[in-house]
């Protein structure tokens, strides 16, 4: 249902362009409702496997839902709903006519991606995701946005090609593209190693891990605010999710060296992204580099590879999705308000747009990882995991990253309170747009308060168990 609903919405929006606002919103609500329904089902029965067409793997395609995919779907529904409301307020009708079908297709792709247990199906979903994201970036118009979209498109296609080549090797090694079956048949052959390298690099390109992040800041910064929020919060997470699935289930994780490499790149991303963010003069560029930095954290879990580390990364991912979308929406409001997003010229917006700035600040709290926020729980789990493994290096990097985050966020907030030298006419920003940003930011904080419940959800079908077991076996041997 989760996949078909947005598709139907797309078709309706395409067929009846005048009613897009209402139709789109209805679809969004329906998707959110069915995500909750899935939550209910999973709570009752545990992990679910569903064979499309009734064939079952390896011949057919299986869908699979466990705690991991459930959380991704829920976060997508939450952020998606908020962005839908925001977009309806922010775009004019002539843009909305294009926005809604594209966005619903993107939503289709995300839901399909989080539910699929079939690698080739994931490839098609990835293409759907990438192309719709590119089209959405290009919606902004202007040469900067178009250039960014083009770069994004090429990178995305390159990533897909690498992924597909890896997939071909896997299929020809094991005669299946189903994740569960591959996991059973897995063995360590040259073809598997090549496939692992190809698919990992392809997905890293799409996830924008340092040093493959070059395309991300321009694309995220030049897109319309609602789209930037989508990209940073959800789209990059899509390819990360596949990567996580692959490393957790398909590829034997007891090989430590590649994991270490990913961790090192993640650490570099944290620092590099943080420093770059601090250097930016435009608000949206700053937020985009902050995404590069925050994505780095997710990869710290790979060398640690304990259940706690995975959960920490997952938690961070969720809270980042909420906080970063709130931040981009807030930045969009500021941009609309002042007509620019130069940080040094944020002219007393604190007084004039209190709700938006509050949203930005709250989101900042979560990004930095201050206590009670969702970001805090995630970082805490990761830190603890690092210390338990006795790997202090990772912990130091994480703390440095947080300090950098604090620096760049306070820089923005500081300018927001002071009067700029150049005063300017302010444009009206609708209440809805401030409120949605604020609600998202608030949700990022609330995420910290409901931690036990969420962590329990993650345990449905124990998606992280396998890797830890593999690691323990490795340690015992």
């Amino acid at each position: 249902m989760l996949i078909v609903l947005p598709l139907i919405g797309t078709l309706l929006c395409f067929l009846l362009p005048r009613q897009v606002k209402a139709l789109g919103l209805m679809t969004a609500l329906a998707i959110a409702a069915s995500a909750v329904a899935l939550l209910w089902q999973l709570l009752q029965q545990g992990a679910m496997r569903y064979s499309v067409g009734g064939w079952g793997a390896p011949l057919g395609i299986d869908l699979y839902a466990d705690g991991l995919s459930l959380l991704m779907l829920l976060i997508t529904a939450t952020v998606g709903l908020a962005i839908s409301i925001y977009a309806n307020a922010a775009f004019k009708l002539d843009k909305l006519v294009h926005f809604w079908p594209l966005w619903l297709l993107l939503w289709t792709a995300l839901n399909a991606l989080f539910l699929s247990a079939d690698l080739f199906n994931l490839y098609v979903s990835l293409e759907l995701l990438g192309l719709s994201a590119v089209a959405l970036v290009a919606l902004a118009g202007g040469s900067a946005a178009l250039g960014a979209a083009m770069r994004y498109l090429l990178v995305s296609l390159l990533g897909s090609m690498l992924y597909l080549l890896g997939l071909a090797l896997l299929y020809h090694s094991f005669a299946s593209v189903d994740i569960a079956i591959l996991a059973q048949r897995m063995e360590s052959t040259p073809a598997v190693w090549a496939a692992m390298a190809l698919m990992t690099v392809g997905l890293l390109l799409k996830t924008a891990l340092f040093p493959l992040h070059f395309w991300l800041p321009p694309a995220h910064a030049n897109a319309p605010a609602a789209v930037s929020a989508l990209l940073s919060a959800l789209v990059v997470k899509g390819s990360f999710y596949i990567l996580l699935r692959l490393w957790l289930e398909v590829f034997p994780l007891s090989h430590a060296a590649p994991g270490q490499l990913l961790g090192l790149l993640g650490a570099a991303a944290i620092l590099w992204g943080g420093v770059q963010a601090l250097r930016q003069t435009r608000l949206k560029m700053l937020i985009a580099y902050s995404t590069v930095s925050q994505l780095g954290y997710l990869f710290i879990a790979f060398p640690l590879a304990t259940t706690m580390a995975w959960k920490g990364a997952m938690y961070l991912l969720l809270s980042h999705a909420l906080a970063k979308s709130a931040m981009f929406l807030a930045a969009g409001n500021l941009l609309l308000f002042g007509g620019h997003d130069r940080i040094t010229q944020l002219d007393r917006v604190a007084q004039r747009l209190p709700l938006t700035l509050a949203a930005f600040a709250l989101a900042g709290v979560s990004i930095i990882g201050l206590p009670i926020s969702g970001g805090f729980i995630g970082k805490w789990l990761l830190l603890t995991a690092a210390m338990q493994s006795g790997e202090w290096g990772w912990a130091v990097v994480m703390i440095l990253g947080s300090l950098l985050a604090a620096a760049y966020i306070f820089k923005v907030i500081g300018y927001a309170f002071t009067q700029a030298e150049v005063t300017h006419e302010a444009c009206e920003v609708s209440k809805t747009m401030g409120a949605t940003a604020f609600v998202l930011a608030l949700a990022a904080i609330v995420l910290g308060l409901i931690a036990p419940w969420l962590l329990a959800l993650m345990d449905i079908a124990e998606p992280f168990a396998m890797s830890s077991a593999a690691l323990n076996a490795g340690a015992a041997a």
Partner: protein, 346 residues
């Protein structure tokens, strides 16, 4: 395997590589595209050699034909803009993109800076290593592997069709195809959302092209119908038929034909989405009697597949032709503050 076959395969492989290289390295973009089309045609020869006639058809029609047409029309539009914006100085050499020649010679030719050169050597070295690694990985695979052929063969009789490729595309892995139709629609949505493309360059179709299209279009329609119908038993199917349909559309568009404005409102939209719509409805209907999503009961599977394929063919054909046309047709544009206009609801 006879020696002759080996020689043929070897020659074909080398020619493919050579053509690919010439495509990518030739200084003239027009030449590059023509070479790319030739490359596509040889690819379909390779598909035939690999016992994959379905792909050969798809490659010849979509990979070489339509992609080539898309590339050529894009190049023509690039040059129209070049002529309009006035940087004609290097455009005297007929159809080569002006800004390209300078850069390519800088890369290929003599004027390469040392640093650039070093990077290139490094890249060649790296990529050779990658290729060698991949080749090793491929060669390490066992020389015989049934893949999923047995599963496909066992279930073929309940799939409703007897062409295994169609069975996989529309029954076993129909869900992939569903999403793929969405990708196709998405591409059109994306192209349309970019909207302000350069003006269609006006070509004078001429008598011969006009005659040709009059002769060929009915024939193409016939071929499309045949491919669709035969797809259940022999090579063919919705994608091949759809692209032949699109070829007819492209020919008509080239000959200067434009659909009447009243067809451009919702009839066009309807044609564009009907494939996906029918697919989704069938998928959902199958859940009613308690089946799984997209579970086609063997008794009706053949008919249902034909239904889906027919709708899909129409949509694919129209979508591809619309992609070729590029910008959103005129009468479609909805003025932002003027919601009551257009042929939307009449």
């Amino acid at each position: 395997m006879t020696l002759l076959q080996w020689a043929f395969d070897g020659l074909l492989g080398i020619t493919l590589i050579w053509l690919a290289w010439r495509t990518l390295a030739s200084a003239d973009l027009f030449k590059a595209i023509v070479l790319f089309i030739a490359f596509g045609l040889l690819m379909s020869l390779a598909w035939v050699r690999l016992n994959a006639p379905d792909i050969a058809l798809a490659e010849a029609a979509i990979g070489a034909g339509l992609t080539g047409a898309l590339l050529l029309v894009a190049l023509a539009r690039l040059n129209v803009v070049a002529a309009q914006t006035g940087d004609i100085e290097s455009n005297t050499k007929q159809i080569s993109a002006p800004e390209d020649s300078a850069r390519t010679t800088a890369v290929v030719g003599q004027g390469v800076s040392n640093k650039h050169n070093l990077f290139q050597y490094f890249l060649v070295l790296m990529l050779s290593a990658v290729a060698a690694g991949l080749a090793y990985a491929v060669l390490s695979l066992p020389s015989e592997a049934p893949g999923l052929s047995r599963d496909v063969a066992e279930n073929l009789n309940v799939s409703g069709v007897s062409n295994p490729v169609t069975a996989v595309l529309l029954n076993f892995r129909g869900y992939d195809t569903l999403l793929e139709m969405a990708v196709l629609l998405l591409a059109l949505l994306g192209v349309w959302s970019l909207n302000r493309l350069p003006e269609q360059y006006e070509s004078s179709p001429g008598l011969v092209l006009d005659m040709l299209s009059r002769l060929l279009v009915p024939l193409l329609l016939l071929v499309a119908g045949y491919l669709l119908w035969v797809g259940s038993r022999a090579p063919g199917g919705a994608f091949q038929a759809g692209s032949v349909l699109a070829a007819a559309g492209v020919l008509l568009l080239l000959a200067g034909w434009r659909p009447a404005a009243r067809f451009l409102g919702w009839p066009l939209r309807f044609a564009l989405i009907i494939g996906l719509a029918v697919f989704v409805s069938v998928a959902l209907l199958m859940m009613l009697p308690g089946g799984q999503l997209l579970q086609l009961p063997p008794a009706f599977a053949g008919a249902l597949i034909l239904l889906i394929e027919t709708a899909a063919t129409l949509s694919i054909g129209v979508t591809l032709a619309a992609l070729f046309y590029g910008s959103r047709p005129r009468s479609e544009q909805i003025p932002p503050h003027h919601t009551g206009s257009g042929g939307e609801n009449e």
